[in-house]
């Protein structure tokens, strides 16, 4: 395996007296789909938000290509963050904007593309995700599944290198869950981005992930491939996969 693209080394994070991450060590590699699983409230989303810069660790290092993120120059940090995209658990679509404006926003605000090129990219993205014809609608007028796809379209429209998915299938029925998983897999294969998925969808997520990490009580209990996961003798891991208390 090549060197890790992003590496968490002994990351700790507390909110007041609540210690959420207690020394996380985890490696993410280019072009892979990695699923981070764990019970609710164990800090999976907090971990994800460290990568995008929404949360900063109390101690430990977050390495980008071997260099601590904090040591990167402003320009390098910004360039790295521009390669990231984040899909929020509750989509975080802008209620006051129509679907076209929601998807085009990162391009309108950050790129130098002319208007017609932005339009072309947005409509191509919408077509690929089956969103044709809803560009003038508002998020409140869409179903849960459609909103997810709009959020995914917004996350992918900038051609990111890394897409962070925070429980992308939360609140969806099994059929739509499967569709979202397949969609992530299809686009990951097509565009080659690194996908980091925080999820509870076990065992469905194993079908599309190359690697799995289990976060429990603030530390990574397991990190490895599907095969390693199923061959593991770890009680915690087996209990979690079977949905038992541990």
């Amino acid at each position: 395996m090549t060197n890790p693209f992003i590496q968490f080394t002994d990351i700790k994070k507390s909110f007041g007296t609540n210690s959420v991450l207690k020394g996380v060590n985890l490696s993410l590699y280019r072009g892979e789909i990695i699923a981070i699983i764990g019970k609710s409230g164990t800090g999976k989303s907090v971990l994800l938000k460290h990568i995008i810069g929404l949360i900063e660790q109390d101690s430990g290092k977050l390495l980008i290509n071997g260099t601590p993120l904090k040591q990167l120059s402003f320009k390098d940090k910004r360039n790295f963050q521009k390669t990231l995209s984040y899909m929020f658990q509750d989509n975080a679509l802008f209620d006051f904007m129509n679907i076209y404006d929601n998807i085009s926003l990162p391009l309108v605000e950050n790129s130098n593309f002319p208007k017609d090129q932005i339009e072309k990219r947005v409509f191509t993205q919408m077509k690929q995700l089956g969103l044709t014809g809803i560009e003038n609608k508002f998020p409140a007028q869409l179903s849960g599944g459609m909103k997810k796809r709009v959020a995914l379209a917004r996350a992918l429209v900038t051609d990111p290198q890394i897409v962070l998915f925070d429980e992308p299938t939360a609140g969806l029925d099994p059929v739509r869950k499967k569709n979202v998983h397949l969609m992530i897999q299809e686009y990951q294969e097509k565009f080659g981005f690194t996908a980091v998925i925080v999820t509870h969808d076990i065992p469905e997520i194993f079908n599309i992930s190359q690697r799995i990490a289990l976060l429990d009580e603030g530390i990574i209990r397991f990190e490895g491939s599907k095969e390693e996961l199923f061959n593991s003798q770890s009680k915690i891991l087996n209990s979690f996969i079977k949905g038992e208390n541990f």
Partner: protein, 261 residues
Amino acid sequence: MLVEIIENFGAKIIKIIESVGRIMIFFLTGTANIFVLPFQFAKIIDHTWFIGTKSMFVIALTGFFTGMVLGLQGYYSLLKYGSEAALGSAVAMTLIRELGPVFTAIMITARAGSAMAAEIGVMRISEQIDALKTMHISPVRFLFTPRIIASIISFPLLTALFNIFGLLGGFVSGSLMLGINKYVYMDTVISSVSVNDITGGFYKASVFAVVVTTICCYQGFYTHLFKEFGARGVSLSTTNAVVQSCIFIFISDYIITFFLV
């Protein structure tokens, strides 16, 4: 016991200092972004429509009735001294120098300021502000900067509207209802008001625009810092936005008046 009291007092002071620092950074970041290209014309027009155009009716209505009350009260007060002919002057000076800018700012706070705080507060709790950050869009520039420009445009214009309808209200109650000669009313209005009075009123309106917009946007933006979360947090930030805006309108009104008189 004593240590605990001192600790609590110290913690409160630190919290206040932190809040002052945060609001100053928020304000300075927002205003500095006014000069950063590209200008946000579409958003400014949009917010000017919401803050300005959509407030016109309520401002005209409150201005008209404020003028009517001033005409009524002023007439009977001046009658005691046999000076009822000076009613136009009294109404004009009171409206243009004081009541126009202050009442307009309070009405806009109630209508648009509360909406700003609630809208931005909802964006905060539904992670829309975080979403902006992940897209490398400055939330302060995106949410606050166009609103403050729109307010600086709208407040003085709405103040002028309030004054016009206030003078009209004074005319209706003073001249049409209580019988003061309409030419005398108009003449005293025109002769008593100087350009400095009008510009002073506009200075006040501009300062109120900055005060109200900064407080309302700030309260919404930092909704997540309240002890109450979700809908309660938004309701608290909206209430705080309106109450604090009104208090600071009166405080800044006194300070500006002190320098203008």
